[in-house]
Symmetry: C2
Subunit: 411 residues, 2 copies
């Protein structure tokens, strides 16, 4: 068999019959080059959201098993339509649901994890010369119940299939041309990166750059699967995501990201006793709430303030849990703040360059933007600021690090 | 376990969230009476047609395997939504695709036949007290490829499940209140039949009364499964379809039906040689064309005319094949006539009553309606007439046999 290439097309790439035909043309052009192709497809356009809305017209609290049964129909329709389009172009294609190609997951409905993929049927059809089309985002548990992999789960399907088939490349087709130094809608002179490391991409994803699902990047990193993020609307090269190469270190900052999806909570006057912070965050974790940044001020008296950020969609639940904690530990109160934004810079070069944080803070200071929280990792610095300064902050930082200059990284 | 009841709800019964909630209420009311319930559901409203239309926007000739992959999503969405609605009412339900409950079919995509149903999972869930919801119209072949059962195939799913579960009754919920002596839109004083035999119902279905799929009635007859056709919009009793009981014989004519879906073709001047009729209809059958009525006039000279009717949707294909036959056998020409309608009367009582045909012809004559073709069976008489007289003919026959009088058949 030839080299196997896995291509994943997102919902915007298959939003209508015309776009589906375009995808079919691209797929068959690769087939003509002699590649064996496995194509993973998402539900078209807003189908998933429409199905969720339909479910909520029936009940506020749909059982998750039934939700997965419902929304998995979106990808099933997409794969069938793409197979028809490829057939029309005179090539042989065959479509499969997650169940049919044995994408076995755990039973965490709406956010299942892939346990195994049975490659038998896929390889059988590839050997017959067919283009294999697989429904993204879905699988089945060991009881044959349909599961879905969570938002962006089709990326996971693509990466997992690339792994089990030992594919040469996993191409992620989307409606942007690759990974940019910043959101081009905010920073018009943002530049496309030709290359980025898994770790940087992971930070980008977790910071709100919605090019690829974070979990699928982790998986690609774990198995060293080369990803090519590119546009389904033209033939330009996009961004390659791979393991770190030496030349990446010359690039100090790869990109600036912005996240407005979080809210800040502050527990005031926490008694300064050992173990209270642990107690607070244990309780929040037990309630399945993901905490992002945590700041604890040095205590001046016998009390201290603890601030943390959570996703806005978890705010209601978090407040409920936190108010209970406040009573239990004898703190004063909890204050919420939804008027925040998080700007971050990401770059593997930070590891070996100093003064990066200072440069970022200078950029913010030059625009008179006050920093409310700071958190850093080896390859990332994040600052929480008032939401109304968000776009200005991104532009100022982008300028400060001269990210508008084209940089090309080679292996 | 209690008595099992199978209920099948058609697309109009689950056309929107409100109607789905109504179905959920009806289903749970049966559950409260202590029944074990298996509910078969069609795709909602016009979903199937919309999906077919979508496919045709991509290609005129979609591969049938992919068509089944596409349209089977309609029922999958319905079963999930109904399970959610039942959950909201505080009852436990679980939905299944055809594949998940092991509805095994042959590989005739778009018109597959059920070979077997694995009852294991259904019985398991019924034993847990759950209401089991099964997607109608679909199954899988032995290769796990999704198949569909043809128009009205959800009826077949209902009847087949009733059979394998040895259910007490198979209720077919639809948007009419049962089987009528004639179409109430044509004959305002048409009466609902409280009871009808399988054979009569089969003739009705094949004659164009679209209450139930013909194949599923055959299956019900074969396994003597009692059917109750009734409305999903009220609680009135509908029509029971069962084996013939003695008292049915007192009813000479059960109903009048009308079919405008056929066209008539006449092959003129067929040489009067043995075997030519066989040759003609063999060729048409090889082209997968279903012939309904066939009339051959007694030959006056050495030539004869052969007329037959086919479904209008097969007309184009039939003309093509027939023109070739005309050349081969040395006939003169083929004439088509789309301006026809077929009116029929159906009733098991005909077997033991004479003069029924004459009475029907009198009814037509009284309205000056000319009869073009006649065909009879043991329990049916059909006449082909000009289409413009169709409704008048139905009303005249309905009156002549006094079908407006309520008749009740008891076992």
């Amino acid at each position: 068999m030839s080299d196997i290439i896995v291509q994943k097309y997102g919902g915007s790439s298959v939003a209508n019959p015309e776009k589906i035909m375009n995808v079919a043309k691209r797929v068959t052009s690769y087939k003509m080059k002699g590649c064996d192709l496995v194509v993973v497809v998402s539900a078209s356009g807003d189908t998933t959201d429409e199905l969720i809305e339909l479910a909520h017209k029936i009940t506020d609290d749909p059982p998750e098993r039934e939700m997965d049964m419902l929304i998995s129909t979106g990808e099933q329709a997409s794969v069938a339509l793409l197979a028809m389009a490829i057939d029309k172009l005179g090539f042989e294609a065959i479509s499969f649901t997650g169940a049919q190609v044995g994408i076995i997951t755990d039973s965490s409905y709406t956010k299942a994890k892939i346990l195994d993929i049975n490659t038998k049927r896929i390889l059988e059809e590839l050997r017959k010369g067919k283009i294999v089309i697989v429904a993204g985002f879905q699988g089945v548990n060991l009881n044959h119940d349909i599961t879905t992999l969570g938002r962006g789960g089709s990326d996971m399907t693509g990466v997992a299939i690339a792994k089990v088939l030992n594919a040469k490349m996993c191409e992620i087709y989307t409606d942007v041309e690759g990974v940019y130094t910043a959101d081009p809608r905010i920073v018009p002179n943002a530049k496309k990166l030709n290359r980025i490391s898994y770790d940087e991409m992971l930070e980008m994803a977790s910071l709100g750059a919605k090019v690829m699902q974070a979990r699928s990047i982790e998986c690609a990193k774990k198995f060293n699967i080369k990803i090519h993020v590119r546009s389904s609307f033209n033939n330009r090269e996009g961004t390659i995501i791979s393991e770190e190469v030496d030349s990446m270190e010359n690039i100090v900052v790869s990109g600036v990201t912005l996240n407005k999806e979080e809210a800040k909570l502050t527990i005031c006057d926490v008694p300064d006793k050992p173990g209270l912070a642990a107690k607070i965050f244990k309780k929040l974790s037990l309630a399945n709430i993901n905490i992002d940044m945590i700041i604890q001020n040095i205590s001046r008296t016998r009390c201290t303030d603890i601030s943390f950020t959570v996703l806005k969609e978890d705010l209601k639940k978090t407040l409920k849990v936190t108010k209970k904690i406040v009573r239990e530990i004898g703190a004063k109160e909890v204050i919420e703040d939804q008027d925040i934004a998080k700007v971050s810079i990401v770059g593997v070069g930070m590891k070996s360059h100093s003064g990066i944080a200072a440069k970022m803070f200078e950029a913010l200071a030059s625009k008179n933007i006050n920093i409310e929280m700071i958190s850093t990792s080896e390859i990332k610095i994040s600052c929480v600021i008032k939401k109304r300064f968000a776009e200005d902050a991104v532009r100022a930082i982008h300028d400060k690090f001269k990210l508008y200059k084209v940089r090309t990284i080679k292996e």
